[in-house]
């Protein structure tokens, strides 16, 4: 909300500068976004005394008192004798633009007429700023108060509806500075006509419209006075005509949304009722809205004339021809207004306030202020009497608080007297009722105050949060024993980073059409009801999609080597809710090394396998690697991972067919390798601590063994067979050779470390063991010794 510093000063004396005030109220809970100084640039009042139109330009002569200037303008609405702020050539505007002499044929423009935007009075102007014709030509704008002002932009939290007006902000200023509030003059006189003879109001739904008041007056519609127009501009409201401006002015001043109907455009009496199904209304924003039965409307005998608390209809609105107005000042249920505004996607200054809460006791004060202004600026003749429909009185609630309780919650040491004084200046009328208890009466504009905690906050914010000295609590608590995955995530991250992979973080939602490529089970997808964009419509069931997107993105940036991993959640539908799993995913592509020692090498399956093996070591588990069944992996170059018989993930090359989906050219040297492992399932199989294994007492013996086997034999099985021998301490597979004469065979070479715990080996024993090993291999795998 934008607040004029000058206007605020009409309500309360302020000895602080605008910036100091902004700082003070920010620290009291009204957060100031910005303070903008208005500008005048030495501009003066100029009167247009001649206009010639030429090529969509208006070449004018402007009387600025001391001289007459030639000024060209593009504003169509410039008429003879209109007055505008004028600056001469040479003036420097705040955006760095210098007004210079400009030639339009024979016409030399010697200055410029300004808009409100250029004077920092509003954000976007559509035309020049029209000044009062009573102002003397040549008068400096800086002499007029409204042009020498600050606009304080306050970002109000939704609980502080009470501060959505100049009066509301002034009340907070009072609580901090302890000055008193000045209320505006609200006097007016009445004419013979009595409202009761002209109109009646029936409220059908008091729950949603607890109070409805109406006043009437005969008026003369014309532009409102300049000060009012300027104040509205500074508040971010476009001036329209005096009647509409006055209702907006009262809204800004006191916080009561008001609406003026053209009485002669209403048919019959007013009824506050629910809208009928599919009933339509053409609102003041010139759009038609279809209503439903949950919405409250103000209707005449024929149709709705306003959406209650949101916006009036165009057909009942005040125009230049309006002679008599009916002035609505009502109280609507916040929830009803909020739901209606949301359904219609129609938000106004009025709905903004009603849905946060407007003081039900403000209605008649506001309409009195409005008619007093109408009398002054719209030659209003106010009718006798008023309509005030309500079922109940709106009584303030009382709360009993404890001084000690407040200090205990805050950890403060405020004196009773100080606490009492703060609540006095907040108009809470504190009454001490016992040695530690006091009762406060909460004004009906403070919807946010419910209990002692709220009073404590009021005390703290008015005293200043900085008055509370920081302390440290001592808490006796016990910690939960966690699953290994919870604390291992950071360790996996650190290890993978050390292994040369970079961590990525992707959105949890993805493109359902892409996800379908990687997932068999579409029924398990969790779709978003309201995705932001089409390509983010479903929660991921795999990390692979995001990682492939990352790969593609980096390829477009000419990356030569990509090795990424992500630890994140995947989501599966479970009846109306969802299951979440932690996964580790990785992608590798391109150069695995590119340096002066090793030269260039590309990532392959075994680089990725190091990720899986790292997890085996970290969690003390063992995966079995089986030929993959996943359709998006290369059938011969992929493995599904099993832990204790359960499928926990995969590693492998992306199937060549899938390159097309990602619009990546298949290159047999630079393959895309993927990996995804479910960390939650692994957690179930994590073995407890790996126990210490005694070192061999006697010296070990090293022997090499090279065997030729069929290519289809898994090296793992051969190695495992060797490991099972009692005397075998360690086995290293150090060579695989598959360019043998018989192309169906391969050679595997092992370094075998033998131990004997009883006595030192003799050569014959070693030979015996090695023979036994070889016999086992030849029986099981038809292995031959490599010749």
């Amino acid at each position: 909300m934008k607040v004029s510093y000058n206007w605020l000063k009409e309500f309360i004396d302020i000895e602080l500068s605008a910036e100091e005030l902004a700082e003070k109220i920010t620290m009291a809970g009204l957060e100031v976004d910005s303070v903008t100084k208005t500008e005048t640039y030495g501009s003066v009042v100029g009167e247009v005394i001649d206009i010639v139109e030429k090529d969509n330009l208006y070449l004018t002569k402007v009387d600025i008192g001391s001289e007459i200037l030639n000024i060209a303008t593009a504003d169509k609405n410039v008429n003879l004798h209109d007055k505008f702020p004028v600056v001469k050539e040479g003036t420097l505007l705040s955006d760095g633009v210098k007004i210079s002499r400009k030639k339009f044929g024979d016409f030399v423009s010697e200055g410029m007429m300004l808009s409100a935007e250029e004077l920092n009075l509003e954000e976007n102007s559509s035309g020049l700023l029209r000044l009062d014709e009573t102002l003397r030509n040549g008068m400096a704008l800086s002499e007029i108060d409204e042009f020498d002002d600050y606009i304080i932009d306050i970002e109000l939290t939704p609980n502080r509806a009470d501060a959505l007006s100049i009066l509301g902000v002034a009340r907070d200023v009072r609580a901090i500075t302890k000055k008193s509030i000045r209320y505006p003059q609200m006097d007016f006189s009445l004419i013979e006509k009595n409202i009761k003879n002209y109109i009646s109001v029936k409220v059908e739904d008091y729950k949603n419209c607890p109070r409805y008041t109406l006043l009437m007056a005969d008026v003369a519609v014309k532009p409102s006075p300049m000060f009012m127009r300027l104040r509205l501009l500074k508040s971010g409201i476009r001036p329209i005509n005096n009647v509409v401006d006055i209702t907006n002015y009262v809204l800004m001043a006191l916080g009561q949304p008001m609406h003026s109907f053209d009485f002669n455009r209403l048919s019959g009496d007013i009824c506050v009722r629910r809208a009928k199904k599919q009933e339509k209304i053409l609102a003041l924003d010139s759009k038609e809205y279809e209503l439903d039965e949950s919405m409250l409307v103000i209707a005449d005998s024929k149709k709705p004339v306003a959406i209650a608390g949101v916006m009036g209809s165009e057909e009942s609105s005040v125009t230049e021809d309006t002679k008599t107005v009916a002035l609505e000042s009502a109280h609507f249920n916040p929830v009803s207004v909020r739901m209606t505004a949301r359904k219609l996607k129609l938000h106004s200054e009025s709905s903004h306030r009603f849905e946060r809460g407007v003081d039900p006791n403000l209605c008649l004060t506001a309409s009195s202020y409005a008619v007093s202004l109408l009398e002054k600026y719209a030659d209003a003749k106010v009718y006798m009497g008023y309509i005030d429909q309500k079922e109940t009185e709106f009584k303030p609630k009382t709360i009993v608080c404890s001084f000690k309780g407040i200090n205990r919650l805050l950890g403060s040491d405020f004196e009773q007297k100080a606490i009492k004084e703060v609540t006095e200046y907040l108009d809470f009328k504190p009454k001490v009722i016992s040695i530690d208890k006091f009762k406060v009466t909460i004004p009906t504009y403070r919807f946010d105050i419910e209990g002692e905690a709220d009073i404590a906050e009021e005390v703290a914010r008015c005293m200043g949060y900085d008055k509370i000295t920081p302390t440290l609590p001592v808490v006796q608590t016990s910690f939960k024993i966690k699953k290994p995955v919870d604390y291992a995530k950071h360790q996996i991250t650190k290890t993978l980073a050390d292994m040369g992979l970079s961590e990525s973080v992707n959105y949890s939602f993805t493109d359902s059409s892409k996800l379908k490529l990687f997932s068999e089970n579409e029924d398990e997808f969790v779709y978003l009801k309201n995705p932001l964009i089409e390509g983010q419509d479903v929660m991921r069931t795999t990390l692979v999609c995001g990682l492939l997107d990352n790969l593609k993105f980096n390829m477009s940036k000419n990356a030569k080597s990509v090795a990424l991993f992500e630890i994140g959640r995947v989501f599966f539908k479970e009846s109306d809710f969802a299951k979440e799993f932690d996964r580790l995913g990785a992608v590798m592509w391109g150069e695995a090394s590119f340096n002066w020692i090793e030269g260039r090498r590309f990532y392959d399956f075994y680089d990725m396998k190091s990720v899986a093996e790292m997890l085996e070591r970290l969690f003390n588990i063992e995966f079995s690697y089986k030929k993959t069944k996943r359709k998006f992996l290369h059938t011969g170059r992929g493995a599904d991972l099993f832990a204790e018989g359960k499928d926990v993930g995969f590693i492998g090359e992306l199937h060549p067919d899938f390159y097309d989906y990602y619009d990546i050219k298949f290159d047999k040297n630079m393959r895309i390798i993927l990996c995804e492992i479910d960390l939650n399932s692994i957690a179930e199989y994590v073995k407890s601590v790996k126990m210490f294994e005694r070192l061999p007492k006697l010296p070990t013996v090293v022997r090499d063994l090279a065997v030729v086997v069929d290519k289809s034999v898994d090296a793992f099985d051969v190695k495992r067979t060797i490991e099972l021998f009692d005397n075998v301490y360690d086995v290293v597979l150090f060579d695989v050779y598959d360019k043998l004469e018989d192309s169906s065979k391969k050679s595997l070479a092992f370094r075998i470390v033998l131990k004997n715990d009883d006595k030192t080996f003799v050569d014959t024993e070693i030979e015996e063991i090695m023979n036994a090993v070889f016999d086992a291999l030849s029986k099981k795998f038809d292995a031959k010794l490599r010749g």
Binding site: L409, H490, L496
Partner: protein, 333 residues
Amino acid sequence: MYHIKKEFEALIADAKTEEDIKQIKAKFLGKKGKVSELFKQMGGLGDEQKKEFGKNINKLKKYIEDSLTDRQTQIKEIRKKESLEKESIDVTLPARRGFLGSIHPITKTIIEIEDIFKSMGFDVETGYEIEYDKYNFEMLNIPKEHPARDMQDTFYINDNVLLRTHTSPTQIRVMENKKPPVMFISPGKVYRRDSDITHSPMFHQVEGLLIDKDIHFSDLKGVLSDFLRIFFGDVPVRFRPSYFPFTEPSAEVDIGCIICGGKGCRVCSNTGYLEVLGCGMVHPNVLKNVNYPDEYNGFAFGLGVERFAMLKYGIDNIKLFFENDMRFLKQFS
């Protein structure tokens, strides 16, 4: 004799190899060498003269022998040095290692935040990213029609299930399952239906909750001031009244701008302060919702990890976190 010495000195200065030394040795000290010749000349001299001459020749001989040995050692050393020099390598070449990996700045920041709170005795909890409306809003004192729901544009799965808009549901989840006292933080992803230069539809928060008997707002100030000073260095910290439906009193916490040192700059919109987290004393309604006894109260806080990372590393665009450009990520190795 003088000439012999001069000749020797000229030759030895030129000697470069052991072969040279050998030849010089033969030339002067060999059987037919110049020194032996001198001895032969001694025959025709008188006793006194002979004695004197002999002494001088011996002196010369000794001088030549010593010089030859010295020179030989010298030559050996030069040779050794030369042969090591030949094996020189370029010590400025990079070390033997593969590509460097990296930890994402968001994770780096979360780890750092966790470490600080763990050292203060906070536990770490995880929550659900897909949540019931009940946990994300209602139990946190935000009923369906509450205007505070406008503050957070929500992704829905169905009418009652949504992507959590903050990490606060973890407060409820933990309190429902654990008796007080509780003291934990909970980092994680959160989602809001909002995307522009400063907003990402997914981002990260760290939630914190401490519930015990007799916890004060001053404790909240103490814990968070210490945390912020450890994380950002010795910066001024200020607490400012604010509003969250699930805390009362509520506060926003600002630190002195670490970019301009409080003088005012673009990053802090010339205020000299940066808003870094929201907090407050847990609202009595929230404690009532989880059936905690009246004598318990406490504080909660929430912070945006991206904001912390952006300030810490000087990152100026939130999109960078989720593009996963290797050139960006590698800067955090």
